[in-house]
Symmetry: C2
Subunit: 422 residues, 2 copies
Amino acid sequence: MGIVVQKYGGSSVSDATSVKRVAQRIVATRKSGHDVVVVVSAMGDTTDDLIDLANQVSPLPPARELDMLLTAGERISMAVLAMAIGSLGHEARSFTGSQAGVITDAEHGRAKIIDVTPGRIEAALAEGAIAIVAGFQGVSQTTKDITTLGRGGSDTTAVALAAALGADVCEIYTDVDGIFTADPRIVPNARQIPRISYEETLEMAANGAKILHLRCVEYARRNAIPIHVRSSFSAKEGTWVVHADEVATMEQAIISGVAHDRSESKITVVGVPDKVGEAAGIFRALADAQINIDMIVQNVSAATTSLTDISFTLPRSDGQTAMSALARLQDSVGFERLQYDDSVGKVSIVGAGMRSEPGITARFFQALADAGVNIEMISTSEIRISVVVSEAQVDAAVNAAHAAFDLGTDEVQAVVYGGTGR
Amino acid sequence: MGIVVQKYGGSSVSDATSVKRVAQRIVATRKSGHDVVVVVSAMGDTTDDLIDLANQVSPLPPARELDMLLTAGERISMAVLAMAIGSLGHEARSFTGSQAGVITDAEHGRAKIIDVTPGRIEAALAEGAIAIVAGFQGVSQTTKDITTLGRGGSDTTAVALAAALGADVCEIYTDVDGIFTADPRIVPNARQIPRISYEETLEMAANGAKILHLRCVEYARRNAIPIHVRSSFSAKEGTWVVHADEVATMEQAIISGVAHDRSESKITVVGVPDKVGEAAGIFRALADAQINIDMIVQNVSAATTSLTDISFTLPRSDGQTAMSALARLQDSVGFERLQYDDSVGKVSIVGAGMRSEPGITARFFQALADAGVNIEMISTSEIRISVVVSEAQVDAAVNAAHAAFDLGTDEVQAVVYGGTGR
């Protein structure tokens, strides 16, 4: 029996009762013969409470100190979880990210893992103990300061440890049963996906699905670590995220799921002179302002005007910064005006099967048209088609796409489709 | 200007408002030209809350994990304090005990400092930053696990850092103005002591005075670190604890203060055969049960009986354990019976001046007699006389002693004489 890495999010360890339930689950895995390494997030609202405290003493807390503060959250949850396991008669030892050998760069608040040296974890396992590791944190290779990994950090910690330890599987426990064909809050008969490829999961995550974070899936894909997303509230099998060739052809639907994202805005630069280098100037200014652009569309210019419009989407939180950066360019570039729209949403269909199946785009767009949904922008990859629509039409668009590709079951899901912040 | 180490207890950093006040005080010290190292305890009730949480998941939390859990408390307070200093325009960097180089043995919950290697603190000071260090914690030299130092641990951290850094002074901030001639809750006109020797402070601490812990004073004495005990709520000079020869003769009262202690019990072993080795057997059994004995009195045996009584005091919390250990000896030692009394109190007068002044004992005992206080046990050192009295008579005994040696002022203290747990 090999090593199993399990990750429990904050909602799975929100209080003493849920910590004890998780402890029983961990002990059951240990009893089945596996070596168990557990990555845990901060309990419930701890992180938010600590951020509130920071804001009470400082309008802009220094990033180094904010990381020091926030890592107290996992320190509490991991020690309490180790105690709960101890009271079930099994030895558990907790380790900070630093003790577990999670080495990062020095970018506080959004550090990247650059190495994992889990010598103390291996020693604990060799002595028969269960190892509990603080998620979301590491130690900077250069400054030796404590860092946090930012969003998705605990999931990434789990996958990185699984890779470094040569684990058989990384189990991500959450408050839903797995990855669904669509958000069940929007599509009541959404179906849980039994197996899905890393590539499709990446596209889902990048386009608004909240179960797994992009960097965690990417880390797993690169290191060939199978991820098993499952509920900490039930013993049911969840969703396996694996290499595409491990998803049996008979299981492979044309479309695996429908993702949506309400977190973006759309900016249109109207009346840009249709000359070489103008678009580059615009996107250089946005890059200098540290803004990540998602979709970009440049209209075909009407031959009579030699002017064009450029539209792009970006995180809504960057909207003001981007508009200011662009306004400063107006004279030099000579565009007519800027339009800002923060009532847009993105709906994407994702599926490896679309590679070999013609007519997917037509079927998707026809379904949207039949539902009265107007398409504002389009973007595609090999295994994904995304459209930007009015935010008010997102639900209708998701349902139309879900039905058009027969993704639903006859059952209505009762669960809430949530996400983990870390 | 040299290095100043300041220690703030949990009551000085109980919430965001008090953290900001402490930050201003630290910055003022920095502005006056000193390098500042701050040792901080956990905020307010944090430690109690964490212990409650531990007890919710485990009846007997493993000591290693309890230390991991409790050290989250200082992690929070030190980061928040660093942020508050940052928002005043000064750079502050927080360090865990481990990062600050506080090396301990592996005795979780009551670790001893065996070395301090403050390289990172010195580097921070050299770069102009204020260093904030978590009190009460260190890292085990052998296991590399996080340890806590137990009661008085934060004060001891501060003094140990002051010694390792060659600081000019270790300032211990608390919620009272300094060390008093007696507890002002009992003696309303108790006087604040401006300067007192290490030796007297040790006797005061060992005999119930709660301002400074024994191990902290002992560490300071051994390393000749002046301690300045003062209030975090005022700018007044507090009490300086220094070498005896730095206490000017003209300042030196015969008696420096009156300490009292209500935390002990008295056990009397009645009718012990007056033979060689019997007492040794009794105290061997108590030592094996890890019980610290304070005062011991053996009655002169009446020649006619060849039986004697042995009385001793011990921490009340060890009472049951001691009685059980002794009861098991009854047959082998052959004593008559055991008496247990937990309604006793100890009152001590402490003063280096009593060395050269005859008649102190007589004056003390006469004052007690005049106040109607019955003396149950007596113990003396070169600079201290202690008596055990009935717990109900402790207040009367303290007041009588205080008045007998003219320790009071004409003013009545309004402050509350409290203590710090760490």
